[in-house]
């Protein structure tokens, strides 16, 4: 029988120490992936020796490199409550790409409280008595404004920045000035960290129809969040696109474990896409973290290099967006001004099954109009500079 691609599975475990493989559970640590590419490439060196004839010996085979890529659906953790630390398996991949897993296991405050008395507009809300006063304490996090009239998903928004005076700037523009009550809901949030500590490694077991590879020092070498808009003409699932490098720790024949169904993945529609505080139309939003991995020379390792390390990241947003009039949304002026603007996407309907992508500050490169199809669109990059929590993905849990 030929081996079948669909009989593929991956299990992910956080690896505490370099070179020390942590055996992922073949049941609890499994998560469905797609489009897996797994490459074993030989390292060769040409043999320059004379042979006394016109013929040359083949290159010496001196080692191998392991690399690959796969996609994970941007599926929220689900369930009725926030997952405990390290339980959301795609979050392990995000942590390995230098994200902090911030868990709010109890809402703050416990019951929604009155917002502060001043500064409340359609783009900012002053939090109330129990809110903290550390600058940017709630930056990037989901915020519940239960007083907003509408379905639950309309009551949830996100915080762009937060001041010592408790003023929370919002990632979107509300229909009416904020009023009533607020609450920081339960949530698990992955926030891009600029701490100097190294991102952790993963240990991964990967089954390819009956054969298991244990991969140690599994380093995330590339990460993109690709969020296509689902329309009446075509629906596509938002995904984390991941590339990696690793070292084979061991391998052997073992039946591929069955992966439990995780449920439907919410589509990017019937939600929000706000850029610079304006709701904009478009067909795609992509965040590319521009990771670069390097390997320090080290003769103590089989391939002469230590475990892969993240050495650089430059984050870029790309969007395929409708082109607007100057009076509506003037990207040319925004590119010339080089100010920072928030980029915010939200989709899904209920707590635990809703996604927020939060980029508090991004700069426009020039956006180029594109013609030729039914609509005039704009494409171009936005740049995300080095601020703590400069890109976040939130999975809030709320009842509204």
């Amino acid at each position: 029988m030929a081996r079948k691609s669909n009989k593929t599975a991956m299990a992910f475990a956080m690896q505490a120490q370099t070179d020390v493989f942590v055996i992922p559970s073949a049941s609890l640590d499994l998560y469905p992936v797609s489009n897996l590419n797994f490459s074993i490439a030989g390292i060769t060196v040409e043999n320059p020796e004379y042979t006394g004839s016109i013929h040359k010996n083949g290159p010496d085979v001196v080692g191998k490199t392991i690399s690959g890529s796969f996609n994970i659906n941007m599926r929220p953790p689900g369930g009725d409550d926030v997952p405990v630390a390290n339980a959301y398996i795609p979050g392990r991949v995000l942590k390995a790409a230098k994200f902090t897993e911030t868990i709010v296991s109890a809402p703050i405050p416990a019951a929604a409280e009155a917002i502060g008395g001043a500064g409340n507009t359609t783009t900012a809300v002053t939090l109330g008595a129990t809110a903290g006063t550390a600058v940017d304490l709630y930056k990037g996090m989901a915020l519940l404004l239960p007083t907003i009239i509408g379905p639950a998903r309309d009551k949830i928004t996100a915080i762009r920045s937060y001041s010592a005076a408790k003023l929370a700037a919002l990632m979107e523009t509300l229909d009416l000035a904020a009023s009533g009550t607020y609450q920081i809901p339960k949530q698990v949030s992955y926030q891009r960290s600029i701490s100097e500590s190294d991102a952790p490694l993963l240990s991964v077991s990967q089954w390819l129809d009956g054969m298991r590879y244990d991969l140690v020092n599994f380093r995330i070498s590339g990460l993109r969040w690709v969020m296509p808009v689902s329309t009446r003409d075509g629906a596509t699932t938002p995904t984390f696109e991941v590339t990696y490098t690793a070292t084979i720790n061991s391998y052997g024949d073992e039946a591929t474990p069955a992966i439990p169904a995780k449920g439907a993945t919410p589509s990017f529609k019937d939600g929000k896409l706000f850029v610079a505080g304006k709701a904009v139309g478009g067909s795609n939003l992509t965040v590319d973290f521009g990771l670069r991995t390097a390997y320090a020379p080290d003769p103590n390792y089989a391939d002469g290099s230590g475990a892969g390390e993240l050495v650089e990241s430059t984050t870029t947003i790309n969007m395929d967006r409708q082109a607007y009039l100057k009076a509506q949304f003037y990207t040319l002026a925004m590119a010339e001004g080089q100010a920072y603007y928030p980029v915010y996407a939200q989709w899904g309907y209920t707590g635990g099954k809703l996604v927020q992508v939060v980029v508090p500050d991004a700069r426009f490169n020039y956006q180029s109009p594109t013609l030729g199809q039914d609509f005039i669109t704009e494409t171009g990059d936005m740049y995300v500079d080095v601020f703590d929590r400069n890109v976040c993905i939130n999975f809030p849990y709320f009842l509204a």
Binding site: I103, V135, E196
Partner: protein, 124 residues
Amino acid sequence: MIDEIRVPPLPSEAVDFNALHDALDKGDSPELAAAKAVASGRGIDLDVGASLKGKSKADLIKIAEKDAVVLPQDATVADIIEAIEGKRIADLLGPVAYVAEPLQSGVDVPPADPADPPVGDDAK
């Protein structure tokens, strides 16, 4: 005028935001609050090992030795507590400003100074 405090960047691991929030509410420094959040995310207590509360200077020096904390010769009780907490914070958040080194052989830790008052419960 409101004093501005800011939580330091957090490492790439699970952190307990409620622990962070509670610690800030109680007046902990942002660094200590962040360390408690990281510790809670790991399911450990920041005071893992020996508690610093109510310890005499001699006891604190023993804890510092055990935790491989380098102390200046003229360290006061407050200095020792700060150094031990700093080491524990650095172990959790990364070596932002503190380089942990084992005590060098032949370098004596400062003797306990009877004039240096105990802290915490011992101070009562």
